[in-house]
Symmetry: C2
Subunit: 324 residues, 2 copies
């Protein structure tokens, strides 16, 4: 949620008893400002860790600059994702631990193989295991949480890495999803798509409206490399794609219209008043969203979401027990 999950959302989630996170920050000067603002809002005293997380896309971020910001602000969580080489996570993890002792290192993975390698080499505090239902970027070849979560958990235990915590990501949209992830062996969850429609999220109003109005998330989103190709060749490392709302760009591409024409139509739409964020599936800009989008029915404050999800998880486990 780069650019949309900024300080106001992160602070609101943390205040509500969750752990707010700032989406992958490539503009490190902007991140610095967000963290200063978050520290003030959270009335932080200088010795404490800042009780929010910050995400970094490793293939994009400058490690030196990143360490500067991390050392200055000491966020509670540093969430690493999308390294060009799996080995890069270990390098980053070691440096984070030096510049900000106490910060937890989270690494996001999407396969058992990567989980084992990262678990051994980077010794993260947390592996964020991402399933195929996630919005935005993830492994093109992937599985849903229902299988990848328990398989990663078992593999870690078998490899003597059972102490690494596992956080489920991808499709968790309400309390039922939380209960499911915990049942599958997760120690916790992260949620993105649900917060797309949070009042504190910085998103084009049409994108937010589209998230609220879209039903049937598996049918109305597409997992594709196309959305990264709209502005020109994708800058993402091999093996990744991204899930977003199906729209005029993806529809044209699926119908066999060439990428050059799809790019041209996108560029034209970007000049329109709505910036290409047309509604009812008619937009041409990428609007990242997971399959959980069909479960997001209204705009709510982050506090309302956190409270509703917590209560819902409790109820879902009770209901499940009653059904068993």
């Amino acid at each position: 949620m780069a650019g949309s999950a900024t300080a106001p959302l992160a602070v609101a989630v943390t205040k509500a008893g969750g752990l707010g996170q700032i989406g992958s920050a490539n503009d490190l000067q902007a991140l610095d400002g967000h963290l200063t603002s978050a520290a003030k809002d959270l009335q932080r005293t200088s010795e404490d860790l800042l009780p929010i997380g910050v995400g970094f896309l490793l293939f994009l971020a400058d490690v030196e600059e990143a360490m500067g910001v991390i050392g200055r602000h000491r966020p509670a969580v540093i969430w690493l994702f999308a390294a060009k080489e799996v080995g890069d996570y270990a390098t980053w993890a070691a440096r984070v631990r030096r510049v900000s002792p106490g910060s937890m290192v989270w690494v996001q993975v999407g396969s058992v193989k990567d989980a084992l390698r990262v678990g051994k080499e980077a010794e993260p505090d947390v592996l964020v295991v991402q399933g195929a239902d996630a919005g935005g970027h993830g492994l093109a070849r992937s599985a849903g949480l229902v299988t990848v979560l328990p398989e990663v958990r078992d593999a870690l235990v078998e490899a003597g890495l059972g102490g690494v915590m596992v956080v489920g990501s991808g499709g968790v949209t309400d309390g039922r999803g939380v209960a499911a992830a915990l049942s599958l062996g997760a120690d916790g969850v992260v949620m993105g798509t649900r917060f797309l429609a949070a009042s504190e999220t910085n998103l084009h109003p049409n994108w937010k409206a589209e998230v609220v109005s879209t039903s049937d998330g598996g049918q109305k989103t597409v997992k594709s490399m196309l959305f990264d190709e709209l502005k020109g060749p994708s800058i993402w490392p091999e093996g990744y794609d991204g899930r977003g709302l199906a729209n005029a760009s993806s529809g044209d591409f699926d119908r066999g219209i060439g990428i050059d024409e799809v790019r041209k139509l996108f560029a034209e739409a970007s000049q329109e008043k709505d910036g290409g964020f047309g509604q009812d599936g008619k937009g041409r800009a990428a609007m990242w969203a997971g399959t959980g989008v069909g479960l997001v029915k209204k705009e709510q404050t982050a506090a309302e979401i956190v409270e509703e999800v917590r209560a819902g998880a409790q109820k879902a486990l009770e209901d499940a027990r009653a059904r068993l």
Copy 2:
């Protein structure tokens, strides 16, 4: 699991306290034999329903012949899937109810839209909601259980169809998956991939061995239309594909080798001693399996599986409660 889930597996699952099912039967004479054999094994008295289910692929099955077999044997469950037109489910459901009163009608769907339409028109007892992790055939555009299950459940309730039971399918491989599905709002689950390695399943031994040895299910399976194209153009209705173990055929196709060449290599491999069921990903025949294949670690009897899954579900819910 057409051809592999036959009477011995169905009987064993039912005897263990589950509800055994015979995979989609297009050879109705063979099905007649299987049902006669199952009735004998289950010491059925003539008035009772036969306590197993039978699947039908509606685009393939002859409705007249199917009704003859259903009326003669009265299986407890008739599971309908893959109609050419969504409207066909209502026709079949009504006829099943006439020829075998008391049999439950299950209809398998993969989207909220289809769930609502089938729920209204066919009035099934059960909607089998299939997620993208399933092995074998399903909707090409799909979502994992973590989102499609709760979204279908909510949509049914909102449409006044809350009385329709929902059974989760796709990725449920052990007790944790069962607990997750129940948490997501399912009344029950069906499991396919886990039973591929059951002793009673009629599967090429190499396929069974491959299921047991494969790890990282999301990486080592592919959801593709290719497997239906190996013997010639697919006979499946539009919108479906199938998930199977990644192998030499899918690898070649992904590398851009044309379908004619892939078919030729498959045809040649089929003449080999192993019938194209090569191991370690080197086979060329379709070996259907879901992403849960990485959780299947040994061959077990159906009774062992049912018992282990039941106990595991209980434990998973307790563990989840402790973590919340």
